[in-house]
């Protein structure tokens, strides 16, 4: 089984209230991070190895469904070679920017 990871982030100019709330919590714990932006990471599974057709489908899904281009950017679409842990599907991750 192959996997494609799609990463979506709120556009820089769009207010990210979730990231802001996380930044506030981290600052209160004494961490040095000056900003936090929170996005989404999708893991798409396909039968067999990832092909160019799979990647094209992932790009289409990313633009039409997984992101809303008005408020979000698709910042990464890439195939993952190694086996993923069983619980990694459709995980939501926080991304920290400098």
């Amino acid at each position: 089984m192959g996997y494609i990871v799609v990463e979506v982030m709120p556009k820089q100019e769009i207010l990210d209230p979730q990231g802001k709330a996380v930044a506030g919590a981290l600052a209160r714990q004494g961490h040095p991070f000056t900003d936090v932006r929170q996005g989404k990471r999708f893991t798409l599974a396909v039968d067999g190895p990832v092909t160019e057709a799979h990647l094209a489908a992932a790009r289409a899904a990313a633009e039409t469904t997984l992101s809303n281009p008005i408020i979000e950017d698709v910042v990464g679409i890439h195939a993952v070679e190694e086996d993923l842990p069983a619980d990694s599907g459709a995980a939501i991750s926080a991304e920290v920017t400098a």
């Binding site: 709120p10 100019e13 769009i14 207010l15 209230p17 979730q18 802001k20 709330a21 469904t65 997984l66 809303n68 008005i70 408020i71």
Partner: protein, 233 residues
């Protein structure tokens, strides 16, 4: 024969029965539609009610915007069918590209529920023709993702073309850009707003008004407007 107005129920809709009741109190005949329906049962207008369609898991309204019934509504709206999106319905209409912009999480990051004053800034749409331009109305607001955003060019265009239909009065409840509470498409048949007109349609159940608690019925005007549009069409 009274006007038949459809109200769509999605898995996770909460205010569909309230919207049906509002249609009835305004003099129309509510018709229940289901998210998986592939035809509109001959209705003359459609309301997308508030709630959390499909759990709002991807983004508010995103999954619903791809549902069979919404695909039919997009086609019919292009032919002039009056469509009203309330709260989650507004989010669905934006995700379906029937309305411009998008709704993001409230800037203060909390769910807010209160009676909200609005200015009717466009009284010429299918859903606002019973109001006077500039009229102030009060209807309930309850949302966690009600921040209306669009780029500056879109916002300028919306204001320039009169596509801003409702504006928040008093403090901005959710960080919506330019205090925008509701917008319409270019043709004026599709309207979306975050506050809930269907919760202000009957004395005893609406917002407080001076000297008469829970007696506000300003929301009735939206449903009465659609019925008038249909009767005069």
């Amino acid at each position: 024969m009274s006007s038949r107005i459809g109200v769509v129920t999605f898995p996770g809709s909460l205010d569909d029965r309230d919207a049906q009741r509002a249609v009835r109190l305004a003099g129309g005949e509510p018709v229940a539609l289901w998210h998986a329906d592939t035809d509109l049962a001959g209705v003359e207008a459609v309301v997308l009610p508030g709630g959390f369609s499909y759990g709002d898991y991807l983004r508010a309204g995103a999954i619903a915007s791809h549902s069979p019934i919404v695909r039919e509504i997009v086609t019919a709206a292009g032919r002039g069918l009056p469509v009203l999106g309330i709260c989650n319905g507004f989010q669905i209409l934006c995700e379906a590209h029937l309305l411009p912009g998008a709704l993001i999480r409230n800037d203060h990051q909390r769910f807010l529920c209160r009676d909200q004053q609005l200015e009717v800034t466009n009284a010429a749409t299918a859903w606002t023709n019973q109001f006077a331009p500039g009229q102030q109305i009060t209807i309930p607001l309850k949302n966690g993702e009600g921040g209306f955003v669009a780029d500056d060019a879109t916002l300028d265009r919306l204001e320039g073309e009169g596509q801003v239909v409702f504006r928040y009065l008093g403090s901005n409840p959710n960080g919506s850009l330019r205090d925008i509470a509701g917008v319409t498409n270019e043709a004026g048949n599709v309207v979306g707003l975050m506050p809930h007109p269907e919760h202000a349609v009957q004395q005893g159940y609406g917002p407080d008004v001076a000297g008469a608690p829970r007696s506000g019925t300003d929301g009735l005007g939206l449903f009465a407007s659609a019925i008038r549009s249909l009767v005069s069409a």
